[in-house]
Subunit: 466 residues, 2 copies
């Protein structure tokens, strides 16, 4: 009988059931466990590895589902004949990666998922066709900042909905926020020190690290970024998500906004306002943008359509203060903007002809109903509390009966992938036993079934805690 | 009578006739020269400023054309009533920029202009409509490198036409070469030293300077980048345009390619092969790519559709060696690619269904005919010789009868904007009296008329030379 030579890492990046699954799948694929050989029993695996039965069961379910093992009633699990199966297709050089085990479920709670079921295809495709047929001139080279038609449409939209104050010529369009932030990093130069929210959205951090920029992590309080800590940080640029902080869901009140604006005015400092999720607000009036409160031109307002419209639409924008606009033109003025002129023109008409605001109302109602249904369903699970649900399409879920890792693993064992808050905390301790729940990609009809799975997953008391 | 307080700068960025035009237009707009006031005579301007009559005439023509001056027979030129004219439209805050004087002509010889008259709109729009209506899944988030369908189509295309050897998964798609080169700069890290062709394409240089990277300028010889100079340079990355060097038009022979590949293999060094203009080749077989000769995976192959298809199509690609691919995935693996998934899918089908290769044949024939007609017409101008015309859509024109500045100014005085070679030379002296002539945007039918203008412009012998 096969002897298992494995130690699982409870602090590893992958949940333990997945570590176990991958290990066994590799052993079977490589022939260490021969075809038809009996696998250790679930009880033996629990005992040897010191893990719960649900962990072992999740791993075994995956082995069965992916065809690495077969089950014989009353006899246990046996390795499948995977060598013979893969031989005919001949993929020698590269060892195939094991299939992602919970891909069936993984996007349900993803904070980057978005519901596109209401997307107005017909109107979008019609605009596209019109623009392509009727605007051959758009095949030629475009400007560095974007189409004037789109700049104007964006300036109107931002003025009306977000009280942003700008000339259209201050707007720069780019293929995603990443592209625009990367340009900003270049404009700020290598000596600039960046203040990031802790916990916060990890994209900018990754780019700053790749480009070897200095980072200060600033903790949050109930109002958002801690002003005193920022003031003491010697940072030059603060990156903020004031409308609906990611991941805490805090909306920054006007008093904190004023104080942070004073910080920026007091030196040659800048605030990047990522107006993340400002489009969705449940109850209460949305605050206007920080840019609209800024009298000293220290705020760079940024936004994107990838959450409010569809993730694959690579169109984001930033509003540059005049001093930065000059720098931008000196450095990037001779390049073309990174978005197709056709797509820009389609978006301009989509905004101007009211498709976008109608769509936002429709999808906003959908998210509001889904959020209400989900909060209601979660209320039925013992121990669960929720915070940061006043806007956007994610919130925090806390369940002190288990550790964060346990909450994740127990949900994963039932095919539900959830992310813990701690992975986003850099210098501050995470709120204990807390998960980040995105519901943009969660089908409303499945909420009762999914809540039931979570209830079962987290049903027992925290007896397994260390 | 108005007294002119102006000194023209013969070495200035703008040609002298334009300096004069702008100065007078400003004086009229601001009221320094009152409405109806007589302007200095052409003869007086020539004498006072020490410039040729053609310079003064070009400036006066523009003033008339733009409505700043009126001409009265046998009396001379008088300032027009521009203050009254602009008053009703009320544009107070911002002083309007003077109109670009030769914009009517400026793109005729631009090396970035492309003929899109043959672009297959109907097919492109039809593909777009199909893809948008039938692929709602493409609204969701895409991968970091691009759509697999496009990666495969590109791998087939590059293998067939350019002998590039790669797996589709080595291909990264991005919204323009600028975006991809910027990612490469991040992957290489801040200590990397870049070798650039001198003279060369200025884009990468601008980005490297903005990001404070070290640059070594390597001179060219008749075979392209000087290998000995590169070897002595301590550079880590060489950026090459071997198919049709910009601006010299040299095609690098296989022997030089081998030697540069050995340079890269001998250290942890890289070659960025910008396969610029490889699509257009007149007479002679095109050499295959350097990437296809590379056995050590030291070449990053890059290409774009902005010249071969249309400038506004923001879709470029690079083929990463496996070692760089791993770095790419570690740094950018969690971002989305910068090109719309719809546009990627449309492009994949455009390639797969043969639209692209048919289009290339059609536009290649068009460029070949235009080049022949242009070379034939230029042959009729005394003193003119041409080099680097074997491929691409630009060549060098030399006319030793005048200096480079004189050639440019004399052509500009007839409304033809031409670029000099010297602006692209960093450490090497430019070939004397040499211009860069792009013909991608030059209407074939206008070649006789334009050649006639050049003949007139450069007709006199170089008597005005210092």
């Amino acid at each position: 009988m096969y002897h298992l030579n494995l130690t699982l890492d409870p602090a590893g990046k992958k949940p333990m059931y997945e570590q176990l699954y991958r290990f066994l799948a590799d052993e079977i694929r490589s022939g260490v466990i021969g075809s038809g050989e009996r696998l250790p029993s679930k009880r033996a695996l629990c005992a040897q590895l010191g893990v719960s039965r649900s962990t072992v069961e999740a791993a075994c379910d995956l082995l069965l589902a992916e065809g690495y093992a077969v089950s014989r009633p009353r006899s246990g699990f046996f390795a499948a004949d995977v060598l013979t199966q893969t031989a005919p297709t001949e993929q020698p050089a590269r060892k195939p990666a094991p299939p992602e085990p919970v891909s069936r479920e993984e996007d349900l709670f993803s904070t980057s998922a978005v519901d596109v079921s209401q997307f107005p295809y017909a109107s979008w495709a019609k605009l596209y066709r019109e623009v392509i047929y009727h605007s051959p001139a758009l095949l030629q080279r475009g400007g560095a900042q974007g189409e004037p038609e789109l700049q104007q449409a964006l300036a109107r939209l931002l003025s009306e909905y977000r009280s942003v104050r700008c000339d259209p010529e201050q707007i720069v369009v780019g293929s995603g926020l990443e592209t625009l932030l990367s340009q900003l990093i270049t404009l700020f130069g290598p000596k600039t020190v960046y203040a990031l929210e802790d916990p916060g959205y990890p994209f900018l951090e990754r780019t700053l690290r790749a480009r070897e920029r200095a980072i200060r992590y600033i903790p949050l309080d109930g109002d958002g970024m801690d002003a005193a800590a920022l003031e003491a940080s010697h940072a030059d640029v603060a990156y903020l998500t004031p409308s609906h902080q990611f991941p805490m869901g805090v909306t920054m009140p006007a008093s904190r906004r004023s104080r942070l604006l004073r910080w920026a005015e007091a030196g040659d400092r800048w605030i990047i306002e990522d107006d993340y999720d400002s489009e969705f607000r449940y109850g209460g009036r949305p605050l206007s943008s920080m840019q609209g409160m800024d009298r000293a031109e220290r705020v760079i307002y940024t936004g994107t359509f990838s959450r409010s419209l569809a993730p694959s639409i690579r169109l984001a924008f930033m509003v540059l203060p005049h001093a930065l606009l000059e720098r931008f033109r000196a450095v990037f003025g001779r390049e073309q903007t990174t978005v197709s002129r056709y797509e820009q023109t389609v978006m301009a008409r989509f905004l101007d002809e009211g498709f976008y605001s109608r769509y936002l109302r429709r999808v906003g109602l959908l998210y509001a109903r889904r959020r209400d249904a989900l909060l209601e369903a979660l209320r039925g699970i013992d121990g669960v509390t929720v915070s940061g649900a006043g806007g956007g399409i994610h919130f925090l879920l806390t369940n002190p009966r288990w550790t964060e890792a346990e909450l994740i693993e127990k949900a994963a064992a039932r095919g539900l992938r959830l992310a813990g808050l701690s992975s986003l905390c850099r210098t501050v301790p995470a709120l204990a036993s807390t998960l980040i729940v995105g519901y943009g990609g969660l089908p409303t009809a499945r909420i009762p079934e999914i809540a039931q799975k979570l209830r079962e997953a987290w049903a027992e008391n925290g007896q397994g805690r260390p």
